[in-house]
Amino acid sequence: MRRIVPCASLLASAFALAGCVAETDGAWRPPAWEPTPIVETEPSETANPVTVDGLAGHRIRNDDLGLQARFTYLPGRDPVVDEYNATVENAVWELIDTRSEATAIDYRPQAHDVGAGFADRGCVDGAAGRPAADLLGDPTIGPVDGDGALVVCEIVLARGPFFGQRIRAIAGGPAEIVADTQLTHLVDTDSGELFDANALWNDQAAAVIGVGIIDRMRRDAGALTLAAPTIDPAAVETVHASLSTTTPTPDGLRITLAGGFTAEALVELGAPAHAGPISIVIPAETAQPLLTDLGARVVAAAEEPYRGPARGAAGLDRIDCTLLPCVALTYDDGPGEHTAGMLDTLADHHAAATFFVQGQYIASRADVVRRAVEEGHAVENHSWNHPHLPALTPPEIVRQLKDTNAAILDATGVPARAFRPPYGEHSPAVLAAAGMPAILWDVDVRDWAGLSDAEVTRQAVTGPEPGSIVLQHDVQESTARTADAVYAGLGDRGFSLVTLGQLFTDGLPSSGAWRSAR
């Protein structure tokens, strides 16, 4: 009996305890948050590195006004290209006007010292996502000493007929960023339609995308509610403004919110405002119901090769020499045996020049003269056989110039619009007989004087100022040998090499004698 009772108790306890703890399931996995249809990416990551041959990249820095600007034109000239390039250029002029007012200094293009590094020009991959202070302090992008204002572009789209670049404008200094704005300028080069990136999205897009962003941010901040996130009107407005930064990418559409983004729902949660810019990608399938027809066409073109305007001759591109530091290289006395090779070198540098040809040599090298015009260079009149024009009678002067004009027109199909008097000698009688403006020079490289190649290069590179006209001779071997170094050196100083027609921004003068376009 004494054994039975404990035994019974033990058995009862064993049975009871055996059923006390349920078995766990090691294969069970905790549920995850529903994925938001928005993917956060690194702000500095280049969304869509685009390499497009033939774009005309530019870079200006003006140390009086404290600004630097990098931007890109579409190549060539037609109404669509011109309108797009004017839009881009306006963004640069707005910056210049602002700085001009702030400093009370009129803007004039500036070139820089030898070795300034301005051959590196045009847009900068990843510039849209870099911190503003970083860009201001970057000497290849920001104003001198990092204090002032900048414009920098990033090519964000070159697919099918669509081209786009994002223009970012920043003002401030090491102590404070005063302004930081971005706008993506897009163009359908088929239809000619210009639009900013907001036009890709419909009216619901900002709120829907904003809710997605808030959902991500609240989870990162530790939210536990399963209630659908809400968005307040101010946050919608912030997101709407950021849609202008839309960049099509292979994965969808990327937008960048400026730093400091928050929303009422996040404030209530105690989440701090986002410190830096937020770069997010909205996958194509998520974006689809939020797009306009135009936006849908842009996304649909994501896999197509770019078929926008192709690179043409430098002399045919848009150039505004009130904005850019320009120099006109002029070559006298040809066409000669070196002229064709110099055309090759000019093409390599995407540079333009003006050839003052002697009428007597045109017939024997008509193909070279024609090629020069076809490649965007200017061919002008340097008399028939290089006489001292003031020593001639008016009829003789007229004949010298008229015969040469006829030969130029015959060879190229394009009439000459200016002449250069041999030796620079001119008089009122010469000018009156010519009926064309006489184009002289303000920089004489003296390549005819037996200078060393180094000296020819030095004079050609260091001599010009914006608006200069440089005299050389394409019949001189040293000029042909040094052409590559001269073009590179001038580009490095920030110059754009242009024709005389481009140098005089209001068109070539109709009369008179001109040493420069200043």
Partner: protein, 182 residues
């Protein structure tokens, strides 16, 4: 010396012996049954069950909770529940409590030490999809305290076992919180 034989102990009669056995058995059974009843009462609270996803009333209060289906529940019907995720990694104590939400959170957070030296993080206020208010705070990387409701409140103190982190179980905690009606 005269040997006087000891008179033998008189054996009880057979009927008496049977009666003693019966009494013993009855007592033993009574002890077993009584003990069983008492043990059942105590062990019932320790019994862990698999939740079926239905709403459970917490003790004699109006507070209820839906423990997600498949979770392990101990103390069903009482005003303090201990629940575990099916993998046993997260354990949460859900209790009806007195006081307002912030004092209750301080109390719960103060009593929760998932990690040595882990202080409660900043309290976060939210409205659940259920419409109930919740205030919650992280306790290090493996603990979480929450209070659902404002006037009548239900507290939740959750921990996860190493090497797991609470971050991996936040969605599970959210489901549990959404099932609480304080």
């Amino acid at each position: 010396m005269e040997h006087v034989p000891r008179s033998p102990q008189p054996r009880p009669p057979l009927r008496t012996r049977r009666r003693r056995w019966l009494v013993g058995i009855v007592i033993a059974l009574a002890v077993c049954i009584g003990g069983g009843i008492a043990a059942a009462s105590v062990l019932g609270d320790l019994q862990e069950e698999v939740a079926d996803g239905t709403r459970l009333t917490m003790g004699e209060t109006d507070s209820t909770v839906i423990v997600p289906e498949g979770w392990l529940v101990r103390g069903a019907g009482h005003d303090v529940l201990t629940v575990r995720t099916p993998d046993g990694v997260l354990t949460a104590r859900v209790a009806v409590a007195e006081g307002d939400d912030s004092t209750a959170l301080d109390r719960v957070a103060g009593g929760l030490r998932a990690e040595p030296g882990a202080d409660p993080g900043a309290p976060r206020h939210e409205v659940l999809a259920s419409g109930a208010d919740v205030v919650h705070a992280d306790i290090g990387t493996r603990g979480l305290a929450a209070v659902v409701g404002t006037s009548s409140v239900v507290t939740l103190a959750a921990t996860v076992e190493e090497p797991a982190r609470m971050a991996d179980y936040r969605r599970a905690v959210a489901e549990l919180l959404e099932g609480i009606r304080p």
